[in-house]
Symmetry: D2
């Protein structure tokens, strides 16, 4: 019985890059973290230590910095596509390229209604993400949001679930629903204004979350995904990861007080972990 | 030579609490993390295991949750003061109480110019903080901001520093100045609208940072502290911690390209660490 | 064009559990973090908010704690199998169960050659992991190691890679090779002493890493995987993730000193990211 | 009323450095993170942007790497002292230097009883620390341990504490005592084999923790500090921070099962936070 190399990939991660784009009246500041991963004809690299087909990860890193000067001017999706094309077309030994980019978001400071030309404040943990997977025949463009911490203080219920011997959770028609949402969706075209549509999709996700009369995280997740597919024909499918960050009512009874659904224990762990993909009919798995 | 107990304290940390305050037309959501620490007559607890004067940390935690229902309605400074008073007045064995509170900031979602009544999005890592230190005779109220990530893409220079054998840093008149700022300031009164003044002080800090023609982090730090003391007589002194999050120009020369101050390596470590306190004359150390 | 639910799953994560197993002469302390994820007939839960087939994640959590008392006595693989069987056999609406367990490792303290009966010190970040994926027809048992930080100070080279315009990395025949390794392997039987074989596999991985004359991370990765498959017929395939934690020689030339390969900048980011699976011939992808 | 500069300092943090010391039969690998902070005549730097007395933090970083080649050969305390002396004696404008070093600990791999000459595995999160504070007249050498995660499964009680309306914690004579201990102690001499005594003090701390019949965290903390002062005349005082990492018995009663003190919820937050300093009589505060 022989042993051999299976699936493999290599590249650089956490290539942290910032750029100033100097416009006439203000500076645009961008900060991204880029990863690259290559697949291809690397069997002898593994089995014999033959590096002749290896594009060093240091070189991949340099490439990102150098190409960013000319080609990182619009959305991270556009820059990711440029990078994947570059690696694929310059390296015949490479059969597939995976580029991941996370953008750290900043907002220009504003004072008395006037936006400052070059001072920024971080918009927090939330990141705009993209993944480009390209091989000789096709390219898949995924965009997304990571670490989007959202919550609603009502319009969220959880009732009617299975009652069995280990079930002690109390049904509720009014609870806090909080999640650090991760959404990723796939576009069906490369000719999209990725920056504009990203903001629109984000807004649709937030609005659906806010106005949904939630019967469960699952139902809200589906509603959010469905809304995006309904409104944006450019989106082929969308996946949502919605960890349930529990805010547990603090039990006042041991102290002779009534529970009034005002005070909660904000917990990190354990947490519910709800994931789902919403697809178009012909794409069903 | 005898051995004995020196300085000591104990309490609970990371008491993570959220509260819904239900107003007529919207829900106010607050999330805080509270710590309590007690000092006092605890020598025999240490030397003999005598717990008769120990207020259990579990009890301290319960106290925070229970009192939050009635008494956490305004600023974290107000709630902190209530807690420190409570622990001090109910525990004769306690000589000093230290209450720390960090508030996680959320913004109400808004759609088409309308603020949603009960849906929130996290404002990011930035936190509003307070520390109350109270003993039988006095109370010190400190407020602050933590993890305020700000940057400016120009109006920042660094020149004229010492040139010695281990100095290779190039002088620059145009660099990115980025910092994850921590500011803490002490009030000289308990009769302050802590929530209102906090927003004003934050704005003064940001505005000074944005408009300062910086010759060094030190100079910007001092300018920010000075501005707060000049504008707010309620502030006795202010301390600023301004780690210098370096964005290092990526050197294009090895690739035959010129350096145009556009592309930077965004680094986390190592980082400059600049700290300073700005005080009023009579308070000088 | 219709929209519908695609792949989905839900469960609880970070169910942090510790157990004392009281033996005659000592206490055995175990600490694990468990996750459960269920797939099945949950379409109406998503589309209609019908929770009648939902086993609450709180119930899943309770189940872990309750079953741990009787059934967490040996390896985490055994406990994981018990859990997946339990969830699958008690829930006809569930078609697939995924149980993940990470074990935090502790060592009993020893003094003057004697092991203490009930005092422990953490063995660090390294964790023993397992994933059980079970459906009506089959079960897959994966075990692994996470966060295994290992390094060697020599016997590591990197030469002969592609030289192109963006390549400036210098070839080296003597560098530090450091990685925070993640290894996961699949067993081909449920009748294995999982605890014993885990220690043996870990030892094989370490030994291969230590004695390998490395020409690249890829080659060392393959050698480690190959060694495991050669020695342990119970292992069907093994995947290794070996981020390259770069220790970069500090350049002494600007200070008129020669570079002697003694002093390094220990970096976290960016990092090389090398992944590979080693398989048996008939398993080839 | 004038505004002026109060206490201030600046320097570099997280100077991450590794070193190979090549011995005849093996390689010694060391990895440290160094911080430097300078105080002195820096008023005009803050108020006027006059950098003429500023030793750039980049220069401080270079100094650490360069001096490590010749002078980092023994304990981190020795290297820290060398650095503080260097900065102080070469910079007349500096009145006080603070050097902090954390050492990441690695163990040489061993196979079949033989230690490998150049392969290492991380010893985990635990770090050996030192802080050197030096001014024109004096130097204080503090050493310590950080992130020492230890626990005992019995010989720990907590009873007899205050019972008041918010107290619901049940007394226990048999609980898990777990802490991520931080210990720092001050030496009264510079002529000490810092490496040897560190290991001894660590052993004394562990042994005292293991064998103590604990009536509270406070009592165990004091016993540990007292033991160090009793055994090591070189230690002037010792401070211990012992967060109480609660392992809370999982309540089996709601499921009709008895509680047998076997299964626990391992929690991170909230946590008790117990701190204390043990001193020699003449050093009493």
């Amino acid at each position: 019985m022989n042993i051999k190399l299976g699936k493999n990939a290599y590249g650089k991660r956490a290539v942290n890059l910032s750029k100033i784009i100097r416009h006439a009246d203000h500076h645009e500041f961008r900060q991204i973290s880029v990863s690259s991963a290559l697949e291809g004809d690397f069997e002898t690299a593994h089995t014999m230590g033959d590096n002749s087909k290896i594009l060093a990860t240091d070189t991949q890193k340099n490439t990102v910095y150098i190409l960013a000067r000319e080609h990182f001017n619009k959305g991270i999706e556009d820059f990711g596509l440029y990078l994947s094309n570059f690696f694929l077309s310059n390296n015949p030994q490479v059969s597939k390229v995976n580029i991941g980019i996370e953008e750290h978001l900043y907002a220009r400071m504003a004072f008395d209604g006037t936006v400052h030309p070059h001072a920024y404040v971080s918009s927090g943990n939330e990141k705009h993400t993209t993944t480009i997977v390209q091989d000789k025949d096709s390219v898949t463009i995924t965009a997304g949001i990571k670490d989007l911490l959202i919550l609603k203080t009502t319009d969220s219920a959880f009732t009617g679930y299975i009652q069995e011997p280990y079930t002690i959770l109390k049904e509720t028609t009014d609870r806090i629903l909080a999640t650090k949402c991760e959404a990723t969706w796939t576009y069906n075209s490369v000719n999209i204004d990725f920056t504009a549509i990203f903001e629109q999709i984000r807004n649709t996700l937030l609005k659906t979350f806010a106005f949904h009369k939630s019967l469960s995280v699952q139902q809200t997740l589906y509603a959010m995904g469905e809304a995006v597919l309904q409104v944006y024909p450019e989106v082929e499918e969308i996946s949502l990861v919605m960890p349930n960050k529990h805010h547990i009512p603090y039990n006042m009874e041991p102290f002779g007080l009534d529970n009034t659904n005002e005070i909660f224990i904000a917990t990190d762990e354990p947490f519910g972990y709800i994931t789902g993909t919403v697809v178009r009919e012909q794409d069903s798995v």
